[in-house]
C-alpha cells in the first residue's frame, strides 16, 4: 500500500479466495460478496448456516466460509426449516434462483413463508434457468426469448411472470420483504443495508425475511454484462418494481 493512502475497500474475509465459477458480470457473484460483507461486519460467520439451491449458485458453499448445506432443487426452504428449527439461535439463510424458488419449490416457499419460519431467503431472480442453459423460468418476461421459449414467452400459453415478493408479502408469516437490484454501486450499497436488516429481524425472531434480487444472466440472456444492465434497468425493473413490500418493524418507528 502506498504511503499516505488508506484502505477503503477490500474483499470480505468470509468470501473465500477461490475464484467463483460464475460468468463475467453475473450478479450471483455480487450477491455472494455483499452477503459475506454483512456476515463479516456483523461478526456472525461462526453462527451462520447457508443453504444453497440447485442452480448456478449450487456451489455458493465453495465461496462462503461458513457452514453450508446443499439442498435438492426447490427444497432449500424445507432444508432451512429443518436447520432453523433444530438450531433456533443460529442465523440461517437460503440462496435460491427463480427456477428453484418459484417453479419446483413453490410449495416449500409459500409454506415456509406462511409458517413464518425465522430464516432469510435470498431470492435471485434472473428471469431464466441459468445453470441448465437458459430455459424459461416462471419469472421470464413476456416476449423474452429463452431456450424453451425460442420465439419469446407467450403468456397465453404459459402464463405471466410471477411476482414472488408481492405474493409472499401477503402472508402473515413474512416479517420483512423487499425487492432489490444490484445494477449500480448505489443499489449494491442499499442492498447491503437490506441484508443487514433481514439478519437483524431474524435475530429478533420476527418471522420470515425475504429479499428478492432482480438479477441478471448475461450468458442466458445472450448479451454482454454491460448490456445486461440495460435489460435489468429497462425491462426487469418495469415488471419487478423495487422497494419494501412489507416490514413489520416499520410500524414501531
Amino acid at each position: 500500500m502506498k504511503d499516505g493512502y488508506e484502505l477503503v475497500y477490500k474483499r470480505p474475509d468470509t468470501l473465500l479466495s477461490k475464484r467463483m465459477h460464475y460468468c463475467p458480470g453475473c450478479f450471483h457473484s455480487t450477491m455472494h460478496k455483499i452477503i459475506m460483507e454483512v456476515v463479516d461486519e456483523m461478526g456472525i460467520a461462526e453462527e451462520t448456516i447457508g443453504v444453497s439451491p440447485v442452480g448456478c449458485s449450487v456451489f455458493a458453499y465453495d465461496y462462503m466460509d461458513i457452514d453450508f448445506q446443499q439442498a435438492a432443487h426447490g427444497r432449500a426452504c424445507a432444508v432451512a426449516t429443518g436447520i432453523k428449527r433444530s438450531l433456533p439461535d443460529k442465523f440461517v439463510f437460503t440462496y435460491q434462483g427463480d427456477g428453484d424458488l418459484a417453479a419446483i419449490g413453490t410449495a416449500e416457499t409459500i409454506h415456509s413463508c406462511n409458517r413464518g419460519e425465522n430464516f432469510t431467503i435470498f431470492f435471485i431472480n434472473n428471469a431464466i434457468y441459468g445453470m441448465t442453459g437458459g430455459q424459461m423460468a416462471p419469472t421470464t418476461l413476456e416476449g423474452q426469448k429463452t431456450s424453451t421459449s425460442p420465439y419469446g414467452r407467450d403468456v397465453k400459453h404459459v402464463g405471466h411472470p410471477l411476482r414472488m415478493a408481492e405474493m409472499v408479502s401477503q402472508l402473515p408469516g413474512v416479517a420483512y420483504c423487499e425487492r432489490l437490484v444490484l445494477n449500480t454501486p448505489a443499489n449494491v450499497r442499499k442492498a447491503k443495508k437490506s441484508i443487514k436488516k433481514a439478519f437483524d429481524i431474524q435475530k429478533q425472531g420476527l418471522g420470515m425475511t425475504f429479499l428478492e434480487v432482480v438479477s441478471n444472466c448475461p450468458s442466458g440472456w445472450k448479451c454482454s454484462p454491460v448490456q445486461s444492465l440495460d435489460f435489468v434497468g429497462e425491462n426487469m425493473l418495469k415488471y419487478y418494481p423495487l422497494g419494501v413490500k412489507k416490514d413489520v418493524t416499520a410500524n414501531s418507528n
Binding site: H21, Y22, C23, P24, C56, V58, M131, S219
Partner: protein, 178 residues
C-alpha cells in the same frame, strides 16, 4: 481405421462447431462418426471441448481417454490434453496466445498461430477454428477440404452463405501454415 480426436479451448472459440463440421464432413464421405461435447456447468466461463471419432467401422464409445489428434486453443486445454495424446499422435496448438509450448517429443506437434492469423491476415477472428481445421487436414487428410466446404454449406443457414468464401480462405491459410 479409427481416429479419436479432441478439440478444446475457451467457450466462444468455436471448438464445438469445428468438431461438428469435421464429423459431418466425414459422414458425407461415408465414414462412421460420433461427436460428443463436454456439457454442463463446467462450461460456464471456462473451457469447452468436444470429442470426435471418425472410423471405417462402427464406433464404440463416443467418450475417449486417449487421442490420435488434439487441437487445443488455450493453456488449460493444452495442459490437460497434451498428456493424453497417443504416442505418434498429432497435437495442434494455438501458438499466438498460449505462452507455454508443449513438451512431448513422442508426438507430432504443430504450432498454429490461428488467432493471430485470423485477426491480422483474414481480419475475422471468428474463422480461427477453420484455420486450425485447415492445418489439421493438411497433416492428417481425414476428409477432403471440398467436403468440408460442402458440409459447411449444408449446415450454415442460407443467410450466412456469404461467409463461405472467408471460411474457405481460412482453411487454405491453415493448410499453408503447417
Amino acid at each position: 481405421m479409427l481416429q479419436e480426436m479432441i478439440f478444446a479451448g475457451f467457450g466462444g472459440q468455436g471448438v464445438l462447431s469445428m468438431g461438428k463440421l469435421l464429423a459431418y464432413a466425414a459422414m458425407k464421405e461415408g465414414k462412421e462418426i460420433s461427436w460428443m461435447p463436454s456439457y454442463g456447468p463446467e462450461m460456464r466461463g471456462g473451457t469447452a471441448n468436444c470429442m470426435v471419432n471418425i472410423s471405417d467401422t462402427p464406433i464404440s464409445s463416443p467418450i475417449v481417454q486417449e487421442y490420435d489428434v488434439a487441437v487445443v486453443f488455450n493453456l488449460p486445454s493444452l495442459k490437460k490434453f497434451e498428456p493424453m495424446v497417443k504416442p505418434g499422435g498429432i497435437l495442434i496448438w494455438e501458438s499466438s496466445t498460449i505462452k507455454e509450448a508443449p513438451t512431448r517429443t513422442d508426438i507430432k506437434v504443430y504450432a498454429v498461430p490461428a488467432i493471430d492469423q485470423a485477426t491480422n491476415v483474414i481480419k475475422n477472428t471468428q474463422v480461427m477454428n477453420m484455420l486450425a481445421l485447415g492445418s489439421l487436414l493438411k497433416v492428417n487428410p481425414i476428409v477432403k477440404p471440398e467436403t468440408l466446404l460442402t458440409a459447411l454449406k449444408d449446415t450454415l443457414p442460407e443467410r450466412h452463405h456469404k461467409l463461405i468464401p472467408v471460411n474457405e480462405e481460412a482453411i487454405k491459410l491453415g493448410m499453408s501454415l503447417v
